[in-house]
Every structure is written in structure tokens, then in C-alpha cells.
Amino acid sequence: MDKRSSSPAESVLSCARCGKPAYLQCPKCMELKLPREGAAFCTQDCFKAAWSSHKSVHLKSKLATGIASTPSEQSQEGWLYCLKKGQTRTSVLPHFDWTGPLRPYPISKHCLVPEGIEKPDWALDGIPKIEPNSDLQNIVEIKTPEQIERMRETCRIAREVLDAAARIIRPGITTDEIDKVVHEATIAAGGYPSPLNYHFFPKSCCTSVNEVICHGIPDARRLEDGDIVNVDVTVYYKGVHGDLNETYFVGNVDEASQQLVRCTYECLEKAISIVKPGVRFREVGEVINRHTSMSGFSVVKSYCGHGIGELFHCAPNIPHYGRNKAVGVMKAGQTFTIEPMINAGVWRDRLWPDGWTAVTADGKRSAQFEHTLLVTETGVEVLTARLPSSPNVFPWLNP
């Protein structure tokens, strides 16, 4: 399953029968667009020997796709690569001039959310309808006490879901397994994982490893000792969303990465410390930019903090870079996120063929932290704050 090679011409697939390097594949599997894993062989002889057991894969696939006609239905069986923002799948690793060592891995099938859980309007067909047309894209909502209470509850659930994911982070587990934990924990709490099917996003959370800036799609890749991974969770519960993310260390992480992650944590901390009524939204970018420059890192400019509440994303837009023209000042009752993404190298980002995963243009690492905040009369309330039960995963928080 390893796709570590940087040159796409090499095959590091192993023969499904004997394990030797494989350069041949089953034509039937190709025809049915099944994954190459398990369908690669070193020689025709091995293929012949494995045939009687191998061919059952075709039958299984035929049965599964018997009723289905669309490519996305085909993904119900087998793990495939994501394309077109999640609207299609392919069994072949797409072409791309990858910026760093990381590659996409096939993703698992669509997870279900039980009946009885309140779902946002994109759950069914992938297309948000209320959100893009809402007035709340232009005006910043002042939440009522009732809405605030709901947000407190939902954000607390989101925090607990993220903590559950944090607890299983270790070398060897796949980001898909993280997603499963997030998905299960969310529906167990009676919530809907907001990212699922949001503009066709295929999974219930975003997992962003190393050079991935944000919106990484959970897949079959195993976390490796030395990786850093961000898990971004949003829960929809009682009609409101709660959004947070944290970057974690996998095993033993090098000094540079530790500094990057810590600096990012501090950027968010400093940004939160200036939040109170009367402060301009554009000030957030100044604070983050200052702290980042001092540490020799750069701020991602393409993605920003956002208003949140009954909508997943709405006004205000809060850039994280300095000298921006963000409109408006903070007022008590507003809820929004601040989610700085900080890069070890250049600030520029690029998009993977899947249409979601944003990576650093130079392949160097990136870290992120996010909270959902409420502006109070005198300052700020961090709705997604760490709990006493939150796992101890940030060394700098220990005295």
C-alpha cells in the first residue's frame, strides 16, 4: 500500500500472491476500476496461481455495482482516490507535481449518519443552499442568549470529539481511522459531522499531515513517527456548528516542527487575547503576522477565520495576514473562528487534484490551531476551550 516513491513511473506494489515487486495487473480489475492493491502480480504465473481466489473480487464488485450507475456509487466498494472536490473517484493516483513527500492515498467509502440526527441541508446532495444566499454572509449576526447557549453546548461536544481523536494519534494508525473515531463520537453525541458532504467533502473531519495546510482528506495512509497532523472537527448539533482544530505530534518530532507547532499555538493565543468589543477584525491579522515573522515563519493567506453559528461559514471574514482590509469591529454576541495556518517555508499554497487538500508550495510543513470564540461584553469566551479531561499532548502547557 506504500506509495512513497516520488517518481510516478516506479511501481512499489507487491505481488498479491508472493509479495515480490509487482509490474503486472489484472485487466478485469482495471476494467471494473477496482483498486490496484490486491490486483498486482509479479508474473503471469503468480497471477494464474492466484486466479481462482482473486476472481471473487470481480464478482463482489459486480454485485455491488449492479444497481449503481454513477461513479460515486462505485466507491461503495473498494478504496479509491478522490477527485473533483469529492464528486468522483479514481483507482489511479492522479498526475501532479507534488510539492513535498506526501501523496494522497485511497479513501474509504462514505460513512452513514443515522436517521434522527438533525442534518444540515448539504447532507443529502452535497450542496449548501441556505448558506450561500443568507444575509449573514454580509452582516455579522449578534447571537441571542438562547443561540449562545446552544453554541456553548455544541462547541463542548466538538471539543470532546476532537479530544477523542487526539487520544488515538500514534505512529501506525491511518487518518481514516481518526476519521472513524470522529464520525462515531459525533453521532454518538447526537450530532452531525459538518464537513461530511459539505460541497461534496467525502469525510467527517479534515486531517492535514505535514505539508498539508488544511482540508486534508482522511485516507489509507498510516501516520509515521515524526509526522505532525492537524485534525479539524466541526459538529452540527441543535441547529448550530462548533468548529475547532489542533495540530498533534506523532511519535518523536524534530525540533523545527515542534517550534512551528508551538508558534502556531501562540499565534492563536495572542489573537484571542485581543478579542473584545470595539477591536477591528483586521487587527487579528496584524497580531498573527507579527508573532509569525518574529519566529521566522510565514502566514497562509488563502484561508481565513469566519463567522459561525447556524451557518457553517458566514461573515465576518477574518484574514490572518497583516495589512488586510477586513471590514468591521467586534461586538458582544458575535461568534467566529480564528484559525491561523503557519508555514515553515513560503506562505503560498497549492491545491491537490482532489480539489480540497491545500499544501505548501515548497513542500515544507504547516501547522494550524483553531477555536470558536464568543465576544462578551468585556472580552472573549473560548467556546471550544480545552477541558480538564483533554489529553495532555502539548508539552509547553505543562509547567
Binding site: K28, K55, T90, G305, P319, R323
Partner: protein
């Protein structure tokens, strides 16, 4: 039944096949905004009523032999459909080539750049050389939202920048609209399109009744120009017949940068005081306020934000442009605003012989020049 064979088929050599066959769209190197060395391509928004002559203008620009590589985005479909048609004069001898620009759909809510901007950047990236982009809008009543989307932060180092907004007006119809609909409320579009314009092309001037003088020179046209300037004194009015205009006057105007200062100051020179018919006007008007004394920058920002964001008074501000004499600074600062988005930046050092002053032009509705003048004066640093 198929697949029931005892013997397997011939295994196939594994080749790196790109199933989609569209590697191009992925290795487009994404948004390499501001590719090293290349200055951003100016985007000119063309607005105006159907029949005023927008298409004529666009065709004229595309077909005239000027040596410039220009792409015109026809803005016919919008986000719903997700594509726009573009015409580019990059064929042999400047022949027109049609292209499709795809708007990135999806999560634009937490991205800083609007899908239209991303699409334009991709277009610039794809082409070897583009000198200008024209965005022809159909039935755009209010250019402000489009201007907001295109007026990007410098920090983004985008491959595109908003150059100017050009309104094409049919001289005869405009006169009718402005005469009949003096009250903004019943017919806002004409007023908004002029209010936000950097250039107004007064087209079809031959249709304006003229006395024994030549077409294109008449009191009626003079009056019309005055009326346009009453609404928007910052706009340059160009008279034309069939939209045959000097391209230098409409392309690369840099109306939204701090760079084109000569232009800015020249405009401001003319507006030492605008004789207004009344100090308080209900329809869309331009006012210019002056203040010699240096202002406190912090107070000034709060003042601008009060006007643009809080809207405590009934004044509706559309556009602002000004130069500022900032206390404690030897730099001339410029002020630019479109609706709620504004920017104050230091531009250059005041020259020795220059009379430092604050001069701000406002375009909007319900403007009260007394309130504007007084509140600006409140920002002055008393020395």
C-alpha cells in the same frame, strides 16, 4: 457467464495512466499569483445598460490594432453555472479565440479569494502574456460588490488587480433617465453606475439634438457632462461615437492603487470647492471637503469607519478618494473607499513646496457637507 473462466486473462503491464487525461488542469501550477517579475494584470469592469454600447466597446477594444493582448470575460452565467466565456485576441493577426473559464465552486466561504478572482488568476497563469482583462457585465445594477471582490489586499500578491470601472452610457437615454428620475429611489441603477465609475463613456453623442453646431458639441452634452460630474466628480467623461475611444484613456488607469498619484492629485486639484445647489442633497452627489490642518490618524480612521461601517447618520457613502495630511508624518497619505471597504496608506513624501492639506471627495446619497466637514475637523490635531 463472464468471469467464470477457469483460466485467467493475460495480466497487463502497469503503466502510469492518467485516467482523466486532463493532467493539465492539475499541473496548472495552481494559483501562482504574481509570478516573479510580472506585474499584476489590470481588470477593467465594464458596466452600463443594454444598448448603451458595451458590446460595441468590447468589440472595438478586441479588434483594434493596438498590439495589446486582451481577454474579455463575458460574465454571462455566474456562479450557478460555474463557467464564464472569455474571448481573447491571441489568434493569428489578433483573431479572437474563445475560451472557457471555470469558476472554482465549493467552499468559498472560508477562502479569501472569490471564485471569480481565482478563475481570472488561472487565466493569467495559462496565457503567455495578457495585458488587460475586461469584465463585461450584463445588467449589473450595482458595481460595488464586484469592485469589493476584485479590490484585493496587496498582501495577496495576486496576478490580477482592479484597474477601473467604466460605465458606458447612451447619451440620449441617460439624459432621459437623469431628467425623469431625479429621485434616486425609483431608478437607482443609472445613478449607481455613474457613482462608481472611474470613466463614463458618453456614447451615441450623435443622437443628442444639437443646434447648428456639429454633432457632439452642444449645450445639451455640456449639461449632461455637468450632471454626471455632479453625481461623480471623480469620473472622467469621454464622449464617443460608436465607442471609438482612445484606449490609453481607458486601460491601465490604476484607479485603485496608491500608485497612480498624479491622477489622484490632479482630480483633487479641480475640486477645491464644488458649488452645490444645496448643502444637503437627497440624490446621489459628489462633495469635496478640505481641511488644511494635520489630522490625527487614529481619529481619522475612527471617523472613516463611523461613516462607512456604523452609518449612524443617514448618509449613504459609495466612494471616497482623498489625500491626507497626517500629523507626525512627512508622508502624504491616500484614502480610498468603496462602500465599506477602505484603505489609508502612506503614498509618498510631501514635497518642499507643496501645501500640505487634507482633501477628500465623497460620492454618495444623502450627503450632508456640513456634517462631513465638521466631523473631519474634529480629527484635527490642535497645535
Amino acid at each position: 457467464m463472464e468471469g467464470d473462466d477457469e483460466n485467467p486473462p493475460l495480466a497487463v503491464r502497469i503503466e502510469e495512466v492518467n485516467e482523466d487525461g486532463v493532467s493539465e488542469s492539475f499541473s496548472q501550477s495552481e494559483i501562482l499569483e504574481g509570478t516573479a517579475g510580472q506585474s499584476p494584470v489590470g481588470v477593467t469592469v465594464i458596466t452600463g445598460y443594454l444598448g448603451a454600447g458595451k458590446s460595441t466597446l468590447v468589440n472595438y477594444i478586441l479588434n483594434a490594432q493596438h498590439g495589446k493582448r486582451i481577454a474579455v470575460i463575458l460574465n454571462e452565467f455566474g456562479e450557478e453555472i460555474g463557467v464564464e466565456r472569455a474571448m481573447i485576441n491571441e489568434g493569428d493577426g489578433g483573431a479572437l479565440v474563445e475560451e472557457w473559464v471555470e469558476l472554482a465552486n465549493g467552499c468559498v466561504c472560508c477562502t479569501v479569494k472569490h471564485s471569480l478572482v481565482q478563475a481570472l488568476e488561472q487565466l493569467v497563469q495559462r496565457k503567455e502574456r495578457l495585458d488587460n482583462i475586461l469584465l463585461e457585465t450584463t445588467g449589473l445594477a450595482d458595481p460595488a460588490p464586484l469592485a469589493s471582490v476584485l479590490w484585493l489586499d496587496d498582501q495577496l500578491e495576486s496576478a490580477v488587480r482592479l484597474d477601473s470601472i467604466i460605465t458606458v452610457a447612451d447619451a440620449k437615454n441617460l439624459k432621459l433617465q437623469l431628467d425623469e428620475y431625479r429621485d434616486y429611489a425609483s431608478f437607482p441603477e443609472a445613478f449607481l453606475q455613474i457613482a462608481f465609475a472611474d470613466v463614463v463613456i458618453l456614447n451615441k453623442i450623435d443622437l443628442i439634438p444639437h443646434e447648428d453646431s456639429e454633432p457632439g458639441t452642444s449645450d445639451a452634452l455640456e449639461d449632461l457632462e455637468k450632471e454626471i460630474h455632479n453625481i461623480n466628480s471623480l469620473a472622467t467623461v469621454i464622449r464617443s461615437l460608436r465607442c471609438q475611444v482612445d484606449l490609453c484613456k481607458i486601460l491601465n488607469r490604476q484607479a485603485y492603487g496608491a500608485q497612480n498619484l498624479a491622477h489622484l492629485e490632479e482630480l483633487l486639484e479641480e475640486h477645491k470647492s464644488i458649488p452645490s445647489t444645496s448643502r444637503h442633497d437627497y440624490s446621489v452627489r459628489t462633495f469635496c471637503i478640505n481641511e488644511r490642518q494635520p489630522v490625527d490618524l487614529t481619529k481619522l480612521r475612527l471617523w472613516v469607519e463611523d461613516l462607512l461601517w456604523e452609518k449612524k447618520s443617514n448618509m449613504d457613502l459609495y466612494r471616497c478618494k482623498g489625500v491626507l495630511n497626517v500629523h507626525g508624518s512627512d508622508q502624504l497619505h491616500t484614502l480610498q473607499a468603496v462602500r465599506e471597504i477602505y484603505e489609508i496608506v502612506p503614498a509618498r513624501k510631501w514635497q518642499q513646496k507643496e501645501k500640505k492639506t487634507n482633501r477628500i471627495v465623497f460620492i454618495g446619497r444623502n450627503l450632508d457637507v456640513d456634517i462631513l466637514g465638521d466631523s473631519l475637523r474634529a480629527c484635527v490635531v490642535l497645535t
